[in-house]
C-alpha cells in the first residue's frame, strides 16, 4: 500500500467509526489532497464532513480548535508545513494551552496534518519546523516514515484528547510498504528500530528514515553496522528506545532534514547524554541556508546518503 493510501485509509476508518471526525483543508474535497492522500473521502463522506476551505491557514486551525473544544474531532490539513507558521497562534496560543488554562474544563482533540520537506518547491514550500513544536507543552507531534505508521499514527492521533500535529512528507506519499489489513493503532511515544546494527545508532524520522536505511545498507558493505531508529513520535520523545540502542553501540548520529540548530538532534543528543555518559554523538541536518528549488542547491542543502555515510565514518574514527 502506498503511504498516501494509508493516510486515506486511516481517515476513512476513523470517519466511519466516529461521526465527530471531520476533515477541513484546502483542496481536500473531490480533488483528494495535493498528494492524492485524501482520495475517495469526499465521495464517501460528502461536503459536510470533508470541507474545502479558503486559503486562510490561521482561521482553518482556529476553526478546527473551536470545533474541537465544542465536541468535534477535526483534522485540519495544512498543505505545506511552511504555512503552519500562519496558524501557529491558534495552535500554540490556544489549542496547546486550552486544557491547562481551563483546568481541564475544555480539551481540544484536534489533528493538524501537514506536509514537510523539500521536493523542488523552493524557499517557502520546503521547510521542516517540527522542532519548534517540540518546545510547546500541550502538543503532541508525530511523523511517520512508513505507510504502516502513517496509518497507525494518524489513527492514534485521532483518538487523543489533545492536539496532535501529524507531519508527513512530500517524498513519502509515493512510497509503498505493508500495512496490516486488520485495524491497528501505532502508540504515540514509541520509536521503532528499522534496522539492527552494532556500531552506531542513527536516530531520525520521516523521510530521512529512508536515507538512513540506505546509508546503513551501503555502510554494511564497508563493514560498518548501523542501527536505525525511526523516532516516529517527536513529542513525546521515546528516549528509552534510542538509549537502549546507543547503550549498545556507544555512538549516536542524529539525522533530520530541517535545520539542526535547536533541532530534533540537539534535543535528543542532550537527553541521551544525560543517560549515557561518554556517548559519541554527531548530527546531520540541512546546511544553514534556505532550501532553493534549484536542483543543485536543494540537493546540496539537505542531507543525503553520502553525507550520512560520511558522518557515520567520521563519528566512528577512534
Amino acid at each position: 500500500m502506498f503511504f498516501r493510501e494509508a493516510i486515506a485509509r486511516a481517515l476513512r476508518e476513523e470517519m466511519q467509526h466516529d461521526e465527530r471526525v471531520l476533515l477541513l483543508g484546502q483542496d481536500v474535497g473531490s480533488f483528494g489532497g495535493s498528494y492524492k492522500e485524501l482520495v475517495g473521502l469526499h465521495r464517501q463522506f460528502g461536503s459536510e464532513r470533508v470541507r474545502n476551505t479558503p486559503v486562510a491557514e490561521a482561521a482553518m486551525i482556529g476553526v478546527g480548535v473551536g470545533a474541537a473544544i465544542a465536541g468535534l474531532r477535526p483534522v485540519v490539513s495544512i498543505t505545506y508545513m511552511d504555512f503552519l507558521m500562519l496558524g501557529l497562534d491558534p495552535l500554540v496560543n490556544y489549542a496547546a494551552k486550552v486544557r491547562y488554562k481551563t483546568a481541564g474544563q475544555l480539551h481540544a482533540p484536534l489533528v493538524v496534518k501537514t506536509t514537510a520537506g523539500a521536493k523542488r518547491q523552493g524557499v517557502a514550500h520546503s521547510q521542516c519546523i517540527e522542532a519548534w513544536l517540540m518546545g510547546v507543552p500541550g502538543l503532541k507531534v508525530v511523523a511517520a516514515g512508513t505507510p504502516a505508521d502513517a496509518y497507525g499514527l494518524l489513527k492514534a492521533a485521532l483518538r487523543e484528547e489533545g492536539p496532535v500535529v501529524f507531519v508527513d512528507h512530500k517524498r513519502l506519499f509515493p512510497t509503498a510498504g505493508d500495512v496490516p489489513t486488520g485495524e491497528h493503532y501505532t502508540p504515540i511515544g514509541r520509536a521503532a528500530v528499522r534496522r539492527r546494527g552494532s556500531d552506531v545508532t542513527i536516530a531520525t524520522h520521516s523521510y530521512m528514515t529512508l536515507i538512513a536505511v540506505e546509508a546503513a545498507t551501503r555502510l554494511a558493505a564497508e563493514g560498518i553496522s548501523c542501527e536505525v531508529v525511526d523516532l516516529r513520535s517527536l513529542l513525546p520523545l521515546d528516549l528509552a528506545t534510542v538509549c537502549d540502542s546507543a547503550a549498545r553501540t556507544r555512538a549516536l548520529l542524529t539525522l533530520e532534514e530541517g535545520q539542526p540548530a535547536c533541532g530534533v538532534g540537539a534535543e535528543l543528543a542532550f537527553r541521551a547524554r544525560e543517560q549515557l555518559d561518554g556517548l559519541r554523538i554527531a548530527r546531520v541536518g540541512a546546511l544553514p541556508a534556505p532550501v532553493s528549488s534549484n536542483p543543485v542547491l536543494e540537493a546540496a542543502c539537505i542531507p543525503d546518503v553520502e553525507r550520512v555515510m560520511h558522518a557515520v565514518r567520521h563519528l566512528l574514527i577512534p
Binding site: L22, E48, R49, R51, T53, P54, A56, A58, A59, I61, G62, V63, G64, V65, G66, A67, A68, I69, A70, G71, L72, P74, D89, P90, N93, Y94, R99, Y100, K101, T102, A103, G104, Q105, L106, P137, G138, K140, E161, G162
Partner: protein, 310 residues
Amino acid sequence: MKPDAVELLRSMMLIRAFEAALMSRPDHGFQLLSAGEEAVAVGLCAALTADDQLLCSGRSIGPALARGLDPNLVMAELLGKSAGPCRGKAGRGHLSQPAAGFLGAHAVVGGNLSIAAGAALAMKLQRRPGIVACIFGDGACGAGALHETLNIAALWQLPLLLVCDNNQISVSTPRSEALAPQRLSDLAQPFGIPGATVDGMDVLAVRDAAQRFADRARSGSGPALLECVSWRFATHSTSTRDTRPAGEIEAIKARCPIKRLTAELEATGHLGRHACEQLQRDVDAAAAAALRFADAAPYPDVSEVLTDVY
C-alpha cells in the same frame, strides 16, 4: 419598555460594583475593566439562552458576569484562587466556564474569532439548538482574523453572532488611527452578512439588535455582525497610564449606561428611588461577598503547575 429592563440594570450594576470591589485589591495585579461598556455584554447576554456559548476578549469581567457566572467564582479566578472555575490558572484574560455557556476569554486580540466560528460549526453539524456569540474590540477589527472568520462564517452559514464592542480605542490608539472603515459593521457587507451599528451605551438597543440577529442565526439564516459603540471609562488596564485628557474622561463618564437606564426607568415609573437604592445595596453586597469568598479561597497547590497540560 420590556419588563426585564430592571434585570438588565441590575446586571450592569453588578458588574460595576464587582469591579469596584476588585479594585480594592491592587496587590493582585492589573485587571482589564469593563466599566462604561457594561451595556454591550449585558444587552448581548439578554439575547442568549442556556444552549448558547459566549466567547470574548481579555476584557472579560462584564461578559462573564452578564452571562450569569457566579460572582464568587469569577472573583476567585481573577485573584488566582483555586476556587475559580479554572482553578486560578486562567486568571484575568482567560476566564471560562463552558458548562455555564461561557467558552470564555482569550487574551489574543482577534484570537477568539475563528475559534468561535469553529464552535458554531460544531453546533451546526451536531444539530444542536444553540448559537455562538463572540465579543471582540475595535482593535481586533484591524486583524486579518476578522476577515477570514467573516468569510468562512458566511460561506458555511454558521450560527455565529459577532459583536464588536467598539470602545473606540485600543490601549492608547484611537480607533480613527487604526481603522479606516467609517462604520465597523460595514465590514460584513462584502460577505453578504447583515451588520448593524447601535449605541453601545444603550442596553436596550443592544439587546434588541442582538435578539434580532440571534433569532436569525438560531433559525439557520447564518451569521451577523453587530457593532456597539461604547466608551471605556478606565485606563486600558489598571496598570496602564491614560493618554486621554482628564476632561475627556469626565465627558465620557457622563454617558454612563447605568445612569442612562436608571434615568429612563425612573422617568417611566418602572423604578422608584427606593428600589434603585435597594438594587445598589444588593449588588454591593454581592460584590463584597465575592471578594470575601475569593480572599478565603486558597491559591492552587504548586504541584498544579504540571496538571492538565496534556
